[in-house]
Symmetry: C2
Subunit: 352 residues, 2 copies
């Protein structure tokens, strides 16, 4: 059997020497691929696609067939947990995720249950199937939303510009907010541990909305609970690398690096060179090409890839990625240009 510890992705996460910079793409199985759109149509809608292990496996593998990617990521959604808690997740066209039963008061928080393993079994079935079907030499990444990010959607009931409901809760019902986040931290930990049992080789925590908080609230309401999750995973699986990504969290990298995770995802507003200086040799860095670059020209993509590589500089500890998810309007051939450029330019940063 292939030793996945020798994969470029896992070596880079552990800051071990690599020959070139590995790459994967957030939302690499997604709407920018015509084959994805076809499978999604077959499934009916996005959520049915997530809940169908065979089709979820199929879309997970699609980008690997097209591009020389160094990891796969489980096809799923961060909101499977609140859905399993009974909030009734659905996706309104053009509006993003919505809940039929958002969390609207303290009683609803009191009543929230930690999902049992059965209710999320479809995710584990997909993970097992993907691990079995995908190339043996590539790692599979599992993931979950951060407790804070899940709480944002659960309380707002949908995506929001100003997150007034959840912020009002934080400022007025401090204890209820902590109870909610605590329940979510337990649920996310359980969920990621199940994914690891099902075969994923690394996990990533997506903290999409941590960046809207004050520094104090980021520590207390977002990072604190991600720390709990990391501690619980590490207690059982010390060798599974954990990647922590707070969008808009560029001001807090030092704190994130102190959690014991292996790597930080960094968005495109961060300079990798200064990020690297700030976190020292504590963690690897994953990122951070501006997703909008993939809408530009071949020449521009090559130039910007080179800049990201040069910004991280010499040595291991860099996983190339976008600074956020790939958008539906990206031409797939632009992704190929990006990956070719990484393969062409990155070896020089790893020569002895």
């Amino acid at each position: 059997m292939y030793d996945l510890n020798q994969s470029l992705f896992l070596r880079a996460l552990r800051r071990q020497p690599v020959e070139r910079t590995p790459v994967w793409i957030m939302r690499q199985a997604g709407r920018y691929l015509p084959e994805y759109r076809k499978t999604r149509e077959q499934a009916g809608d996005f959520l049915s696609l997530c809940k169908n292990p065979e089709l979820a496996c199929e879309v997970t593998l699609q980008p690997l067939r097209r591009f020389q990617l160094d990891a796969a990521i489980l096809f799923s959604d961060i909101l499977t947990i609140p859905d399993a808690m009974g909030l009734g997740l659905y996706f309104a066209e053009g509006e993003g995720p919505c809940f039929t039963n958002p969390v609207q008061d303290v009683k609803a928080i009191n009543d929230l249950i930690i999902p049992d393993a059965d209710s999320l079994d479809y995710v584990m079935k997909a993970a097992k199937l993907i691990r079995q079907e995908m190339p043996q030499h590539l790692p599979l990444i599992g993931f979950a939303g951060s407790p804070w990010t899940l709480a944002c959607y659960m309380v707002e009931g949908k995506s929001s510009r100003d997150f007034k409901r959840i912020l009002k809760l934080v400022y007025t019902e401090y204890e209820a907010a902590h109870m909610l986040l605590n329940k979510l931290a337990i649920s996310v930990s359980d969920y990621l541990l199940e994914q690891i049992k099902a075969g994923v080789n690394a996990v990533m925590i997506f903290d999409t909305w941590g960046g809207i908080l004050t520094p104090e609230h980021y520590q207390n309401f977002s990072l604190h609970y991600m720390q709990q999750i990391i501690t619980r995973i590490k207690a059982q699986y010390a060798d599974i690398p954990i990647i922590l990504f707070t969008k808009g969290g560029g001001q807090w990298l030092e704190h994130m690096a102190a959690t014991g995770c292996e790597a930080l995802g960094v968005d495109w507003t961060c300079d990798l060179q200064s990020a690297r200086k700030r976190v020292g040799d504590k963690v690897a860095l994953q990122g951070n090409l501006d997703p909008a670059v993939l809408l530009s020209s071949e020449q521009s993509i090559r130039k910007q890839v080179e800049k990201v590589l040069a910004s991280f500089g010499h040595g291991s500890g860099h996983v190339f990625n976008l600074g956020h998810g790939i958008t539906p309007d990206v031409p797939p051939e632009h992704v190929a240009v990006m990956i070719d450029a990484i393969n062409e330019f990155s070896p020089q940063y790893h020569s002895r």
Copy 2:
């Protein structure tokens, strides 16, 4: 005549000793006030209100009648300049600003004209009238959007979540993007100089969308042009304080402080204590209560005000404000609670 240089606001901007921390509120003349909603109804719509000097004066004065504020801000909109360039500004209910003729190609950028003074004369009329009608002992703040922020709206045609059009322009039509920003920097400078002639006592540049850029692009496409504006204003009016505010710009405070402006607006994701350490004695700081705090309780507002004051700490150089504009659903009595708390807690930070 009252010497405005003795006002708390201007003294704090110049980091001269004050007895208490001065305060004003971004969007203090706005929809959270019932009297504003009444005047707006009288005007017909938001843009007609901006274009009517008497009514613009009336709404500017309204918050000063209710609250003990230390400055007024000219009632207007950042998009008056693109409107004067012929883009046809209108406000769709619930959608925010839109343009009938967005900038859709390089030819449109080539054809853009610098607005002449006549086309923005209604703003200067409002400024003169407000300066004449408002309390003599209070300063009047003029303002404009940053060239980058104006360009975002002009190219997108409206507010956006991902700013794909403008970013594509930046990555593929580099020179056209610079031409657009250059025209805007000239227009904004002209506009602010006219406001100063009309009687405003300080100016603020709102860079609402600088925070979506990579660090390199922030420097080249946003800060560079704000620097041009500051240089031009300072050449004619060395004594008029300039406040620079990039929302989401917490990572770049040092660069912003190096422009020669008097103060930085900081949003609520920044810690004032570390911001102050980073900018040293170069600039004053304005901010940064989380606007969501005003939706909470009296107790919570008082506590959070105390935290902001303590975070800045002892000495002058702090103008209290929110970290972003006040939202329409804030109960006006919560604003009074905030101001009372500032008056109660801040003198201790200014004692000898």
